[in-house]
């Protein structure tokens, strides 16, 4: 059969004489895509619920690499993007394009080819490859490049299948839904390769500019146009009334395609990307909000006098909900882009709530409405209205709960991040919200399953339903025939004769404009800045670090840990110097991230020792009690002290982060003064080359304490002291017990794999100076981090509690022993500990951890004896049992214990 004959007879059955010849509709392909969309949405939501559950139960399914949080998270979003929405949109295209273009789609064979590619070369292999650790850490582009090739191929096939039928359509015949379909396909076909391939070729901040384009285009120019096409189709087709204004719909279309691509950089506000690009994106975001108000107003006015239909017709209700959600989420997005709001809520769960409102509230609701609408019109099918009604309310309830919960969680997290509380407090604060989020996913999953059930359990006799669906059509249409104007203006069609020319030109033109404004121009500016600012010799990553970087990417680490310290006082106080473009010149692709569940890792170089990092990777809760980070046991051979090569590679990479910055020797005085005066953000807007030193790096102590640390004294009053100690006990259990043990004996869960071992706090008495210094700066050369971010009263409470752990002090037993001990100390210990025992001997400066200052720390007899017997593994302290007799060692124990307290003048003689 020839194509023309095919079209004349249609592919759906014989043509009745007297009925106008209409193009055929590929109902088999519609059914196939609908089924594929529902199968994939259920799987994708299950991925989502699983990753959400891992926030509350981090060990859940945690023993295998292919079930780890990062990989499942990749599959959750890509499954929604390609599997669910992609198939739903394709089903709708097969239904709507023949009606809108008055021509069938290009080819049925191409349709099945597209179905095969989309599901069996993109979705399923993409999921499988990601689970096997083959992926790329680009947001909305996690499927690996081998899959990307098929995605591009699929969009080329879509262009033939759905755009070419419009080729012969005059501009005046092109309904707004068709404009959105054409524009979305053309634009995504161009933007997808840019967002998925270019960041692999253009490093760091410059790559992030391209990546930001795709992050936003994926939602704005793939999801949004296709969802709006459905809304613009379903509303008039159901109400049997034309939309309120086609003119307004076209204004909305053109502004959307012009403005949306310009929004991309608003994901990187306060970053190293040139401020002009950031502000341009912010202004474009504000314009986008106005455009959406216009679009939604037009759509809601199209429902005027149809409120009864909207309440009774479930598909229309789905669409109505989606339109309202579109307004809310878009205005929310515009506000989020504004700097005063963005500085507060960016990286928090607020943004996750926002994206769920966009992808479920807006896109999924409209897609569900579109599927339900066309399902009524597919021969032999009809949905079960009661079940579908339940589906609507379940998804709506779950989504509302989820968005409200995540929005509040984001505000809570932001509040903690702005404060001086330790990072883990924000994780603890979000815990209950994460549990509610997980639970809210259950009704959403149930809703999708019920939707599926409603499609397969509907009545089979669709003739009646078709009549019902068309009910009331005749009178509206009669009026329509009378009122509808002619569609051609003489003279106009001569130069705007073909719609595709305009649509194609606009798609390419706007894409090129956004590419130029948000990627090329800022990229060139960044390149110049990098050339000026980068050190002459900047080491690239070693082979091991490079491999570690790939593992870091495949496990989704960048989705919880940013590598982007923003030019904000709160960021700098907590993490150190802001990330500058030159630091990322070797990052292929960038790993800046857009979410923080764990802290930023940009300044990890020299921050923590190897044993802490390995223990943390093996099981984060060994060192951070309330961490929700997944464990990575497959990077180890059964123990944190036996990392595999992959484990060592990840360690090498993490410990390289911030190395270039620290070795570059940039001064931080200017920035430090800005932080102090609270003018950082304003100053940084005008000074992109601001420098800072990382305040969180442990500072080596000489003589047992650091001059940079304030000396904190617990309360003098006994009652207040007890109160402080009680409070300190709670703080100790929350922050210190995982290493030091709950009793402070240095036997916490992490102690087995840390070297040097965590201090046994019961075996020595520590002075205020010593504890203040340790808490303020950490202990260089050990796993003890700085805790200066805790409020001063918390640090005082900890000091009060720790000093309670060993409150005993004994007088020196004999003067004779004291004399022997003093002589021995001068002969064997003074080179490190100093003549007076202040930890300031000639070699002390080169040792990390620094030698003990016995005036600030009084070890118990047992501890002192043990140290002399066995040394301190992981430090420079050797065992002395072979060099000193038992009596000599006993005398030394007595002597060092006698030193505690302020040094006496005669000690120096």
């Amino acid at each position: 059969m020839t194509a023309s004959a095919h079209n004349l007879t249609g592919r759906n059955g014989p043509v009745t004489p007297g009925v106008a010849v209409l193009p055929s509709t590929e109902y088999d392909l519609i059914r196939a895509h609908v089924i594929a969309s529902l199968v994939t949405v259920v799987i994708s939501v299950l991925f989502g619920i699983t990753v959400a559950t891992k926030f509350t139960f981090p060990e859940f399914l945690g023993g295998h690499g292919w079930l780890t949080w990062g990989r499942l998270r990749y599959n959750h979003t890509q499954g929604i993007f390609f599997g669910w929405l992609g198939n739903a949109f394709l089903a709708f295209f097969y239904y709507a394009v023949p009606r809108l273009a008055n021509r069938p789609v290009w080819s049925r064979k191409l349709g099945w080819f597209l179905f095969g590619i989309w599901n069996f070369a993109v979705v399923l292999p993409g999921w499988a490859l990601v689970l096997n650790g083959i992926s790329k850490p680009l947001e909305w582009g996690e499927f690996p490049h081998v899959v990307d090739v098929f995605v591009v191929l699929a969009f080329i096939a879509m262009t033939f299948e759905f755009v070419l039928p419009f080729l012969k359509a005059a501009l005046s015949d092109l309904y707004v839904a068709a404009w959105y379909i054409i524009g979305g396909i053309i634009f995504t076909m161009l933007a997808y390769p840019v967002g998925n391939f270019v960041p692999e070729l253009v490093p760091g901040a410059r790559g992030a500019a391209f990546s930001g384009l795709w992050i936003h285009d994926a939602v704005g120019l793939y999801v949004t146009p296709f969802a709006l096409a459905i809304a613009y189709y379903v509303i008039p087709a159901t109400t049997r009334r034309p939309i309120f204004s086609h003119f307004l719909s076209m204004v909305g279309f053109w502004l959307l395609f012009f403005i949306y691509p310009l929004n991309g950089t608003h994901h990187y506000v306060y970053s190293a990307i040139p401020i002009s690009a950031q502000k341009g994106a912010i202004v474009a975001s504000a314009y986008l909000g106005m455009d959406v108000i216009l679009v939604v107003t037009n759509l809601l006015l199209s429902l005027r006098a149809s409120s009864g239909t909207a309440s009774k017709d479930v598909p229309l209700r789905f669409v109505w909900f989606g339109v309202v959600a579109y307004l809310v989420v878009s205005l929310q997005g515009s506000v989020q882009a504004l700097m005063p709001v963005n500085r507060f809520i960016h990286f928090t769960d607020w943004v996750i709530g926002h994206s769920h409102l966009a992808m479920i509230g807006f896109a999924s609701f409209i897609a569900l409405g579109g599927i339900a609408h066309l399902w009524q019109r597919v021969p032999g099918t009809h949905y079960n209205e009661r079940t579908m009604n339940w589906s609507f309310w379940l998804v709506a309830t779950g989504l509302t709960l989820m968005v409200a919960d995540l929005t509040i969680a984001g505000l809570v997290e932001a509040q903690v991040w702005e404060s001086s509380a330790p990072w883990i407090d924000s994780v603890r604060a979000a815990g209950s919200y994460w549990l509610v989020r997980t639970l809210s996913g259950v009704p959403i999953l149930a809703g999708f399953i019920l939707f599926w059930i409603s499609l397969v359990t509907g009545p089979k006799l669709s003739e009646a339903s078709l009549s019902a669906a068309s009910g009331g059509a005749s009178e509206h249409m009669a009026a329509l025939e009378d009122d509808s104007p002619g569609s051609v203006i003489p003279g106009w069609s001569s130069w705007l004769s073909y719609a595709h020319v305009v649509a194609f030109g606009a798609g390419v033109g706007f894409f090129a404009l956004s590419f130029l404004v948000l990627a090329i121009i800022p990229g060139n500016q960044l390149e110049r800045e990098i050339k000026q600012a980068a050190p002459v010799t900047m080491a690239t990553l070693t082979a091991s670090e490079q491999r570690g970087r790939m593992i870091y990417g495949r496990e989704g680490c960048a989705y919880c840990h940013t590598q982007q310290i923003r030019f904000l006082a709160a960021d700098v106080r907590r993490f150190g110097a802001p990330t500058e473009a030159w630091e990322t010149k070797y990052d292929f692709p960038h790993l800046w991230g857009t979410r923080r569940i764990g802290p930023d890792l940009s300044r990890e170089f020299n921050l923590r020792p190897r044993d802490w990092q390995l223990t943390h990777l093996y099981d984060p809760r060994l060192v951070v009690q309330d961490s929700v980070m997944p464990p990575y046991p497959w990077l180890f051979d059964g123990s944190p002290v036996r990392p595999t090569q992959e484990g060592l590679d990840v360690l090498a990479y993490i410990q390289s982060l911030g190395r270039a910055r620290q070795l570059s020797g940039f001064e931080g005085r200017w920035l430090a003064s800005s932080v102090e005066s609270g003018t950082l953000d304003t100053a940084m807007s005008n000074e992109p080359l601001a420098r800072a030193t990382a305040p969180a790096v442990p500072i080596a102590m000489v003589g047992g304490y650091s001059l940079s640390a304030p000396i904190l004294h617990p309360a003098a009053d006994q009652g207040d002291l007890q109160e402080e100690a009680n409070r300190g006990e709670v703080l100790f259990a929350a922050n210190c017990a995982s290493c030091h043990g709950f009793a402070g004996a240095g036997d916490g869960k992490a102690s087995a794999s840390l070297l040097p071992k965590p201090a046994n706090l019961t075996a020595a008495r520590f002075s205020d100076e010593r504890l203040s210094s340790v808490l303020w700066n950490g202990v260089a050369g050990s796993a003890m981090p700085p805790w200066r971010q805790l409020p001063t009263e918390d640090l005082r409470s900890l000091i009060a509690y720790i000093q309670n752990l060993n409150a005993s002090g004994e007088a020196l037993r004999t003067q004779e022993a004291a004399g022997l001990g003093k002589a021995l100390f001068a002969a064997t210990c003074a080179s490190c500990h100093g003549v007076t025992g202040e930890g300031n001997g000639p070699t002390a400066g080169a040792l990390a951890p620094a030698p003990t200052n016995f005036h600030l720390k009084k070890p118990s007899e047992e501890r002192a004896w043990d140290v002399l017997e066995n040394g301190v593994p992981g430090t420079a302290m050797p065992p002395w049992r072979d060099q000193l007799s038992v009596d000599e060692r006993r005398a030394l124990v007595e002597f060092v214990r006698s030193l505690y307290g302020p040094p006496q003048e005669n000690d120096r003689q």
């Binding site: 249609g10 592919r11 759906n12 009606r99 189709y233 008039p236 003119f247 076209m250 078709l466």
Partner: protein, 64 residues
């Protein structure tokens, strides 16, 4: 950058409003697709109703 976005956006909107205000025939022309879409939808519904008894239990099979 900001100036560019503001100028271009304003120009697009002003051009559309100008055309809308200056040429009444444009209003007729630009609104036409919303009617043709509904006419087309009705044609398909009519055809489906005609064919429904014959194709109710089949999918998109070729015509006999």
């Amino acid at each position: 950058m900001i100036n560019l976005i503001v100028i271009l956006t304003s120009a697009i909107i002003l051009a559309l409003l100008l055309v809308w205000w200056r040429w009444p025939m444009f209003r007729v022309w630009i609104e036409a697709p919303k009617y043709s879409m509904l006419r087309q939808e009705n044609r398909f519904d009519d055809q489906d109703k005609e064919r429904e008894p014959a194709t109710n239990s089949s999918s998109s099979g070729e015509p006999a």
